[in-house]
Amino acid sequence: MSSTISDPASDGVVRAADGTPLKQRLNRALRREKLRSFLLILPLLAFIVLSFIMPIADMLFRSVENQIVEETIPLTVVALKEWDPASGEAPGEEVFAAFHADFVQAFKDKKHTRLGLRLNYDEPGMSGLFRKTGRPSTKMQPPYKEAFIKVDEDWGTVETWAVIKQASPAYTDGYFLNAVDAHRTAKGIEMVPENERIYLFLFGRTMFLSIVITMSCLLLGYPIAFLLASLPLRSSNMLMILVLLPFWTSLLVRTSAWKVLLQQQGVVNDFLVWIGLVNDADRLIMINNQFGTIVAMTHILLPFMILPLFSVMKTISPNYVRAAKSLGANDWTAFWKVYFPQSIPGIGAGAILVFILSIGYYITPELVGGTSGIFISNRIAYHISTSLNWGLAAALGTILLALVMLLFYVYDKIVGIDNVKLG
């Protein structure tokens, strides 16, 4: 093949103008092109890694990180290695001496309350114990064991020291255990008492409400997408505005609209009283509960169901339904056996998208959910800003992230990540 192309060299290699083999030149050009495209991507890649990926990695790290104990009371951690809680006796004087040295230092650095707070996550009461011991610790004389027990009898118990020993390693699975309502006791991993279990319940409720919201979106979105796909372009474009306007309207505007509408003195209740469906005395409570969350979030997420459904239905040729009808199918059979199966990819795409968006929702449940409509994300926010238990917040976040990633993997398999369309 190469011999037919004008080729001065007789070795059968195609050469470029300067005499280097053409293959080599092409490879070089390809490499240069690769490099150039990579250089174009690099700034954004670096930016996203710095401003987004590293924070997420930091969160994953925080869910297992536990250096505070080792940093605050290093001597005690070493001394406690010898001690075995199974012996049934509190540690000896050398541990107390080490602890005294650590504690006085921690008190000077004002770190002892932070450590107490950290240990309080494992065993309620530790925070108070640490705070109480703060000032007296500076005046202690040996033997330290008695001195500590004099401040609080809890220092003499096996449980207190077992908690400290258990919290000593630099990495812990304690936050993850807490996040699934379990904790580590002397006997191993156990579930917390029935009445204290909240996280599994909250995860369950988040899933349940997300499924309900996804279902209602599908129920309301399917007819709309069907109508839009079957109308002529001009009228469907007009009606599309009714879908896109809510899509483009600020989330807080829509949430506040629902808050205003669903109030007890709000427009919907006023209307129901006016037409006589509801007594003025017992107006319906539609906000600050699950009902309010479901209604508001269905409204907010509905466009995310309609748009993918519409783009799939747009591609279904009307000829199939016509053919089915000409073969004797009635309207329902033609729809159910011919049209509906072809729209299933759209249902899958829309449903997963709505579900992914709703399990991570924070603002709307926070504002209209009351106590019965809150999601797991509200609990994460609570731990970040109110209880300051960042480790637990990170563990809950990691579990939620894993769930979303799993769903997104499914979404990628069905729709493809590159096929995300906007507007």
Binding site: F52, P55, S256, I363, V404
Partner: protein
């Protein structure tokens, strides 16, 4: 479905109109909450419902006092100013970086293309509360938490996936031989980019920028954690307003924001039409 055939049976006619009525109700559900806040924002009383005077269309039942409150209250003005100073900067950062990366990604031989794409799109996928948590932890380590630039960088990161998606979509219709043509006539790559490629992909860049802008302008979860009181944006102020002392001023703000959304939507629609016309997809 679109038109009833003349031979339709009675049942078919009934269903046809029932279906339309159902769709009408769903459209009503979609649009009613947004429409209803507009007249309510002109309420002369501090109520969130229609007063008898309003229903009787009595001019005394209406007033601009909530708008007046918005434009004079220092809290709201500060929030408006913060929003206006954060969103455009975040948009510029997101659009510049996003457009460059989209051009890079659209070339044919990019190593690890799908992995890079997954990383770049990730801010859109990860639930906001998780992004907010991670950014809060990380940015407080490096001292960006509670600063203006911390919020801007976070918002820019959240906005880039939209720029990438819209610009990539426009680049699909871009004829690469135009670049070669320009180069063969002696233009350097920079001139080619600004004189040939940029004008053609501009609709995608602008709509990406609008998406990035609205992402930042509407964003509340991340700014709630990352910002300090001096970065309080409009959505944040609305959020606290809704949670604590709900005041009808919120409805006035909401109405103004709906106005902005309509403006954005119109711009986007015009851009989409222009881009379709340029690509010859529709007769125009």
């Amino acid at each position: 479905m679109s038109a009833l055939p003349p031979y339709a049976s009675k049942a078919q006619i009934t269903w046809h109109y029932t279906f339309r009525a159902i769709c009408g109700l769903i459209f009503f559900f979609l649009i009613f909450p947004i429409i209803v806040i507009m007249p309510l924002s002109f309420n002369a009383e501090n109520f969130f419902t229609f007063t008898p005077k309003m229903l009787a269309l009595d001019p005394e039942g209406y007033s601009l006092k909530h708008y007046q409150d918005f434009f004079t209250n220092p809290d709201w003005q500060q929030a408006l100013w913060n929003s206006v100073s954060i969103a455009p900067v975040a948009t510029i950062v997101a659009t510049c970086l996003g457009t460059l990366a989209a051009i890079g990604l659209s070339q044919s031989h990019v190593p690890f293309k799908s992995a890079i794409m997954a990383i770049l799109i990730s801010p859109m996928i990860v639930p906001l509360i998780i992004s907010a948590a991670g950014m809060y932890f990380f940015y407080s380590r490096i001292g960006l938490q509670g600063t203006y630039w911390g919020v801007v960088l976070a918002h820019a990161a959240l906005g880039t996936p939209f720029v990438i998606i819209t610009v990539t979509a426009t680049l699909v219709g871009f004829d690469r031989s135009l670049i070669r043509a320009s180069a063969s006539m002696g233009a350097n790559p920079v001139t080619t980019f600004f004189k040939v490629q940029m004008p053609l992909i501009l609709p995608g860049v602008i709509s990406g920028a609008l998406f990035a802008f609205i992402t930042s302008f509407d964003e509340v979860v991340v700014v709630l954690f990352l910002g300090s009181a001096s970065q309080k944006t409009l959505p944040w102020q609305m959020f606290t307003g809704l949670r604590e002392q709900i005041s009808p001023t919120i409805l006035a703000v909401a109405t103004l924001l709906v106005g902005i959304s309509i403006l954005l939507l119109t711009t986007l629609e015009l851009l989409r039409r222009r881009s379709e016309r340029l690509r010859g997809l529709s007769p125009g």
